[in-house]
């Protein structure tokens, strides 16, 4: 039951809510469980609630690791 999608915060709304965008599709979500959210941040969205903020630096690191492993694989 863990379908959760990363979406970009485009607007902050009253009552600890926000509007997020996934490629132009807009949805309202609750920010009850995350702090210090700014416009432009990506949050992980699950059944109408943001459960975590995506750490952009860690995301970059993960992609770099993926690319490294993949290129090592491709070399052989």
């Amino acid at each position: 039951m863990c379908l959760a999608i990363p979406a970009r915060v485009v607007e902050l709304l009253p009552d600890n809510m926000a509007r997020v965008s996934l490629d132009g599709v807009l949805k309202e979500t609750s920010l009850a469980f995350v702090e210090d959210v700014s416009i432009g941040d990506y949050v992980v969205l699950h059944v109408g609630y943001a459960l975590a903020k995506i750490d952009e630096d860690e995301a970059q690191r993960t992609l770099a690791l993926l690319q490294e492993a993949a290129s090592l694989g491709a070399l052989a």
Binding site: A7, G24, L45, G48
Partner: protein
């Protein structure tokens, strides 16, 4: 016929039971809304039926019912859907639409202005297709018994002689062609459902496809085995239906499918597979491999087929499975959906 009596208050009036009772009120409704919108001499003659001559040859007939909710959605309404959808059933047989009928079951309390909008949609669409609505029927039922309005349509068309398109004609080696992007209609309608709570610019792709079909027939009609429009159940249902009817399998490439970014995003949010989402302006064609390129070229020259693609092929398979090579590189099955499509939360 001179109708005496109160004019319809088209701006604020509501349909009531008298409009279905066969008397003056009903005549007023039919005249002011339906005859006015559908605008043809046969209807204006005011009979319960209309007669027409046919050139002879092979006739095609279809009937459909429309119960979509909400009635008005981005890109169209129930009326437009009804005309286009019915014409498409005729077109999928390679036939040209000639005449249509439309019957309405209207809920007591339905706003006249909405009924007029729907009727005007239908009139415009039927005129654009050259297939006038020449007969119809109107009933009104008590509040709560009809979800606004239900529309039932029929259409007769004429098919070229000797043509036998059928879902059981697919053979291993045949090419599978798809006329454009998938998932648009379903997402557009779902975006209007309050409970799903998402906003999008996606428009329904509802369109009458007989012109596109005519272009395809000209380029290679003799090589077309079957055509079908992937409505309820989406592309997955259509491919599985044809596979089972023909006793074959199918293989498609996910990278060949066109899905608009917002459609993909909406499906991600709701946990839906675009392959299972309804389309109302697209067709799937199974054609002999040798003719595929020229039919595809003809499709791409037509406004409704600009993004047509060769998405896969028919293969021999006793299990009648539809397989897809994923964009990721692995393989998976494309299954019929079981029951009503429910947004996946898990």
């Amino acid at each position: 016929m001179d109708l005496v009596g109160r004019k319809l208050d088209l701006r604020r009036g509501l349909v009531d039971l008298s409009h279905g009772a066969g008397g003056r009120a009903m005549a007023r409704l039919i005249g002011d809304i339906f005859v006015a919108a559908f605008d043809n001499d046969m209807l204006r003659a005011g009979n319960d039926q209309s007669a027409f001559d046919v050139a002879g040859g092979r006739m095609v007939m279809t009937t459909d019912a429309y119960v979509v909710s909400p009635l008005f959605f981005p890109g169209g309404d129930i009326g437009l859907l009804a005309i286009n959808g019915t014409i498409n059933d005729i077109a999928m047989a390679g036939a040209a639409p000639l005449y249509m009928s439309a019957s309405f079951i209207i809920e007591e309390g339905f706003p006249l202005v909405d009924l007029q909008r729907i009727a005007q949609s239908m009139g415009a669409a039927s005129r654009a297709a050259g297939a006038p609505i020449i007969t119809g029927d109107t009933k009104v039922v008590e509040r709560g018994k009809a979800d606004g309005v239900f529309i039932s349509t029929a259409c007769v068309g004429s098919a070229p002689a000797g043509l036998e398109l059928s879902g059981d004609k697919a053979r291993p080696g045949d090419a599978i062609l798809l006329s454009g992007s998938i998932g648009d209609h379903g997402v557009a309608v779902m975006s209007r459902r309050q409970d799903l709570g998402f906003e999008t610019d996606v428009l329904s792709d509802t369109a009458a496809l007989h012109g596109l079909v005519a272009a395809m027939m000209e380029a290679g009609g003799a090589s077309i085995r079957a055509m079908r429009d992937p409505t309820r159940g989406g592309l997955a249902a259509t491919l599985n239906e044809i596979a089972h009817q023909s006793g074959v399998g199918a293989r498609i490439e996910e990278t060949a499918l066109l899905i608009k970014p917002q459609v993909a995003a909406a499906c991600e949010l709701l946990g839906l597979d675009p392959l299972n989402v309804a389309n109302e302006g697209k067709l799937v064609a199974i054609v002999e491999r040798e003719a595929a390129e020229s039919i595809l070229a003809a499709m791409r020259k037509h406004p409704l087929g600009l993004e047509a693609a060769w998405i896969g092929e028919i293969v021999a398979d006793d299990g009648c499975f539809v397989q897809m090579t994923t964009a990721f590189g692995g393989a998976r099955m494309v299954d019929w959906l079981s029951g009503e499509q429910l947004p996946r939360i898990c």
